[in-house]
Symmetry: C2
Subunit: 418 residues, 2 copies
């Protein structure tokens, strides 16, 4: 197979399909989504069987346990996949919304209309549930999509693709609205991320290695984040009980998520009172503490934190801790070592809260709340295609709105420019 030609063909078909799905009404899109969910439920056994084929092959090939775990699809996981698609059907349709119409001195009315981006390329690891999820979000937001999942999931992904096409057909929509790459040749990715003429945005979903590789090579804009090195800063005069509760949740609720806190900054004035109970709580939960010299003087179990520790997303029960002068040094530390993802302050001081919100250069900035809230569902977006630490376009959790754009519309009555 000539891979470049194959990807070009996917791109041309996606571009043509994008015109059709962009003008499809909400009823047709929701009908398709509900039909896809019903087909997934109906074919649950077949999907699990296709997945078993993938899992067996991956195990023989020696895929590591964590990846095997993400690849495996149980009957419950299939049911959750169908439910996820139905939830997307139930969300409001962002497409076509007109806002900010204002009459100008020339007589024209100028406003904005929300429209799909066009063609979205999704590149992800061997997680079959992402296939249904990403297809549903792109479809609902009026975009054509090209889905390239990890090669280990190929059988299950193709089985899901057939059900997506069945659902699209039942709503009178062409199958090319959602194209699932049918070859495992890795060269597909290289072409997809450079095909500016047919792909409007790439969303990589997967580990840091994947995203870093794509960032280095992509010519198409990406909605992505590389790292989630999130901080909690406990300010002078914070409520200590609240600080303990927030740090516990932000660090220990889940270790592998991008909105988990990886670093703790504590104002010097309360380090003596806060650090011992906090360290006891973390140690009880099995979290390793890597601290600055002041931290180590107060916490015997802490090892020394390196520069690299402060810059790390551990994704593990490890936390770096530093005692700082106060809010100025905390903000400087976060903007220097952080990843512009999500950072929180615990404070009772109004001016400190406002300053932290303004000056921390991150996609999500929080006062007196756990960083774990940085999530499309918790923010009320109803769904999430990913989280962006880029500054242009969508920033933070990205839902349906982030898969759309606003064009300008002008409503005139024959006005010409003077």
């Amino acid at each position: 197979m000539d891979i470049e030609n194959y990807v070009q063909q996917l791109g041309r078909e996606a571009r043509a399909a994008s015109r059709i799905i962009a003008r499809a009404d909400s009823n047709a899109k929701n009908h398709a989504l509900r039909a896809i969910a019903a087909a997934i439920r109906r074919e649950s056994e077949a999907l699990v069987a296709a997945n078993r084929q993938d899992v067996d092959a991956a195990r023989s090939a020696g895929l590591e346990a964590a990846l095997l775990d993400r690849l495996t699809l149980s009957a419950q996981a299939v049911a959750a996949m169908a439910e996820g698609v139905e939830q997307v059907a139930a969300l409001p349709d962002p497409v076509g919304e007109i806002s900010d119409l204002r009459r100008r001195p020339s007589g024209i009315q100028v406003g904005r209309m929300r429209v799909p981006l066009g063609v979205i390329g999704i590149i992800y690891e061997a997680r079959p549930n992402v296939t249904a999820d990403a297809a549903a979000l792109c479809l609902k937001s009026g975009n054509a999509s090209i889905l390239r999942g990890g090669s280990e999931a190929i059988h299950c992904n193709q089985a899901i693709a057939a059900l997506v096409h069945e659902g699209l057909a039942s709503a009178g929509l062409p199958g090319s609205v959602v194209q699932v790459v049918s070859t495992t040749d890795r060269a597909v990715v290289g072409h997809l991320i450079r095909m500016r003429e047919h792909v409007d945005v790439i969303v990589p979903r997967g580990g840091k290695g994947l995203v870093a590789r794509l960032l280095a090579e992509a010519r198409v804009p990406m909605i992505q984040h590389l790292d989630g090195n999130c901080h909690v800063y406990v300010d002078d005069g914070a409520d200590l009980g609240q600080a303990l509760r927030i740090v516990e949740n932000a660090k220990t609720q889940r270790y592998g998520t991008c909105n988990t806190a990886e670093s703790l900054l504590i104002a010097r004035s309360l380090a003596g009172r806060l650090l011992p109970p906090l360290a006891a709580m973390l140690t009880r939960k099995g979290v390793e503490i890597r601290g600055c010299p002041e931290t180590r003087a107060l916490v015997s179990e802490a090892s020394a934190a390196s520069e690299e520790d402060y810059a790390s997303e551990f994704l593990a029960p490890i936390i770096s801790v530093r005692v700082v002068d106060g809010i100025g040094q905390a903000i400087e530390h976060i903007n220097h070592y952080g990843s512009h993802h999500t950072d929180a302050i615990v404070t009772e001081n109004y001016s400190a809260a406002m300053r932290f919100l303004r000056e921390v250069d991150s996609a999500s900035v929080m006062v007196n709340a756990s960083t774990r809230f940085a999530d499309g569902f918790e923010y009320g977006l109803g769904a999430e295609i990913g989280i962006s630490t880029d500054k242009i376009h969508a920033r933070g959790p990205v839902g349906l709105e982030g898969l759309t754009s606003q064009k300008w519309i002008v409503l005139g009555q024959g006005e010409v420019r003077g």
Copy 2:
């Protein structure tokens, strides 16, 4: 000079300065802008003299007349430059605005805060007025900027830079908020557009050749447009007087602007009545007509339009004309040959107007108005750094808002995730 080190140094200083200007209050920024305007007025003679040095050198080097014209700065142009900076001072400050605050079931309040992008790189031709204009827009929107103007304008640009720095200093702001590249070495551009770690967005201002070159090489996101192949489509049953007036203005008011109409589509049902008077008007104004066979049957002076003509931004008194079946074919033509910049329909039919607005995939879509209105000032943005035909982030005319982004803010009371 080691150019890569020099650009890295510019980047590091810009990043540091971006933290300072991001938190500067509106008073300080406006004070700096007014001081810059005053300094420009005061030093008008010196600026004209520095410019004369540039113009003389460029003329000796054989720079072509159109470029010499854009390079030349008269005393009136200096006054206009100062006035432009004062106008930016008078605009509302977008930074810090909080919107969409909503309480979530968990108890947290989630909203968005408008913040600067960080560091903006502006790459432009030898037009000294752009130096003051771009510096003012970046400063007001809370961004640090790195300005790289065409090498022929180096003396005048350095003279303007000194006045910008004087204005910044008078407001207590560091000069590194606006850095004007001091070498004419072209290698600067190559490094600047790849320095992702220190530059958040590149805005190229200049001709198609410049933008195309940067697009091919940039690693930093760009706010740009390549072409302005704008269309007017005259629909069945349009008001013919209105159609004539709009086409005249859209095509002939100015030939060299990106929002000038380059192509005219006419519904077959009114071609016989509209084309003869329209061709007479265009011919009277010296506009060359390149048409489809049906057009040529009605307009004897029309030559044959090629595929390339339909895809061209002429920037000249030339227009391509095609008779189409109706709105469906018009939309298809525009989405195929157009540049996603600005397209207008002339119609009295409500459904056609709505369909055109929804389905034409362009940054600005207009009903019964001249494409010439696609402009930051006409849209009420108060200023314009450029026009974008990209779909992500800012689309269409880009003012202060397009130089900012929105981060999420969470206001909690100790909430943790369950």
